[in-house]
Symmetry: C2
Subunit: 361 residues, 2 copies
């Protein structure tokens, strides 16, 4: 897509989202407003954007905002982490706080430069638990090649938080090769995922021990910058869009992007990588793994001519060996996500209305 | 101070802080760890810095971290806001979230460029209360000349937060005129405050209605960039250090800076501007207004030759008409803050050990 076409496209999206955004009509905030589905969309587009969105970078609803400075394009993104329990197989709130934010930068094609860390601690928090998370943050930051350069700590009374919440903000520089946008999907694009889906959310849910279910499932939390770096090297401008498939999983990411680009996404269910343990747990719990959060798995949209090279590049990145092409972008019906099921049928995969898995990040 | 002297000075501070930092030995987090006094210092320097402080900008413990990019110096700062109640005379959590972060940028001489906003909402929060804070954020951001360019929203179960917590992160560009550092205090510097002290903390405390005390006290929350801009224009390199006197008030800011610069600060109590209502409430409650948080009042250290011009410039800034010179920097005893009391005595004004006023920001 040319620069002019892309800008025109973004402008149209912004205008459309201003004209037809969902309304926020509920009297109270519910858990669903934090789940990444329809309710989240109404909160963000119906309440937050009308008040704060007097700038196109926020209105574009990318994973990170951007601004130009001295010839560079800076990216800035923020996330609060409220996961319970603090530790789960494969990770902890500290690692999520680093990787989640670095990955939002990666999703706009930005190499991470620096992080800030703001903690809300509950009075009575065990010092060893706190120390373990600070060390997890330091370790994850080192692995991601980024430094924590500013911080803040608040303490609230016992009962006014659950042990600790962490907010990280990431500053990055958009890679000159990157031409990514949530509105960048084009008919014919191939849809790639960087690994098996649903591992993070399922690992956290099983760690809560609310279900009499044991399985060897570990969070996929990791920095995705190496994966984006590899995709950019292989596909360049043919890489149209990347999204970190966190809350609401791959299904929610596809819905948001199909809507932003006014195209359809078609997923071939049989091609979606799902580990046997996640598939088994999901079946028992009646949850589609495509709706379960990931913390180290991205969805990428690549022009058909570059798709094979992009997939090969992804698979060469440590942790992304099981990357797969799972579908393609269609022109019609705009804003919809369709699934060709393993049984031969085709169904709509909509945004979720409720919240099957709260507090997974 | 020359650039070389300054850098040498900062290096010494960093080395000293690494060698002789307080230890964190408590088994649990207490409210005092969030109060900005001795306990906060032990948490930050005894636990957070040893794990995260593998970079000099964090170890310098300025209000914001800095990094160089394409010829500019960027500043990045973050703060979580957990004040209760959400609204109080003169302000609300939304205004604090903007001004507090913009002011941490101002304190390193950085003009604000962009903000991010991350919300932790309690399930059941009234939508009108949320909307009011989002509008307060938008309004304060407009007054401060900054845009919110990225955001995040999490929802936690009823009881796992108190209505809402907000984390803002600010990105700014350090003004080329600025040569500010927490280690920049020199013997002979004059100490200025930009207005009456203690208004914010006292306004919040009275709004809690825990005390049968009524007084017309309003928070001083405001953007301090215009004040810093005025100081830089009037004093240039003679402006050695600026600090936003938030948690722990002017007394804690002076203690931190005297320690960082290995100098003493002498305050003339009679010259400290305190409104009669704050002075009266403070006397009844047995709290020194110099320890009470401000959210729109800074402390500045200026070479003697530029002090009069700097004070005049401050007083010309709307909201800073009552700025005053309250004391000076002495060579000895290093790290100490002394007060010449209104009664003719001289006493030490130490960091607080406990937390007289929790959750004021």
């Amino acid at each position: 897509m040319s620069e002019a076409t892309r800008e025109q496209r973004i402008l149209e999206i912004v205008q459309r989202s201003r004209a037809g955004r969902p309304r926020f009509t509920e009297q109270h905030v519910t858990m669903a407003h934090g789940a990444g589905g329809k309710a989240s969309q109404s909160l963000i587009e119906g309440l937050l954007l009308p008040a704060l969105g007097n700038n196109d970078t926020l209105a574009e609803l990318a994973d990170a905002g951007t601004l130009a400075l001295n010839g560079a394009t800076l990216a800035l993104t923020t996330d609060s982490f409220v996961v319970t329990p603090l530790r789960f197989p494969g990770g902890s709130i500290g690692e999520l706080a680093v990787n989640g934010t670095v990955n939002d930068l990666a999703a706009v094609g930005a190499r991470p430069l620096a992080l800030t860390l703001s903690l809300v601690l509950e009075e009575g928090l065990d010092s060893d638990e706190l120390r373990a998370e600070i060390e997890a943050i330091a370790h994850a930051a080192e692995l991601a090649g980024v430094q924590v350069i500013a911080g803040d700590t608040k303490v609230v009374q016992r009962g006014a938080a659950e042990k600790m919440y962490a907010c990280t903000t990431g500053l990055g520089v958009v890679d000159p090769r990157a031409r990514l946008s949530p509105a960048g999907l084009l008919s014919g694009d191939r849809i790639l995922v960087s690994g098996p889906v649903g591992e993070h959310g399922m690992a956290v849910m099983l760690a809560r021990e609310e279900f009499a279910l044991q399985a060897d499932i570990r969070s996929d939390t990791r920095s995705l910058w190496p994966a984006v770096d590899g995709l950019l090297a292989a596909a360049g401008e043919d890489l149209h869009c990347v999204r970190d498939a966190t809350r609401g999983g791959v299904a929610s990411a596809l819905n948001e992007l199909a809507r932003a680009s006014a195209v359809a996404a078609l997923v071939r269910e049989a091609d979606v990588p799902v580990s046997p343990a996640v598939a088994g747990a999901a079946e028992l719990l009646g949850i589609d793994p495509l709706y379960v959060a990931n913390e180290g798995t991205l969805v990428a949209f690549v022009a058909e001519r570059a798709a094979a090279a992009a997939l090969a590049a992804l698979r060469a990145v440590p942790g992304c060996e099981r990357a797969a092409e799972i579908g393609e972008v269609l022109a019609e019906p705009p804003g919809m996500v369709l699934v060709d099921t393993a049984f031969g049928g085709r169904r709509v995969m909509d945004l979720l209305a409720g919240d099957p898995l709260p507090r997974i990040c």
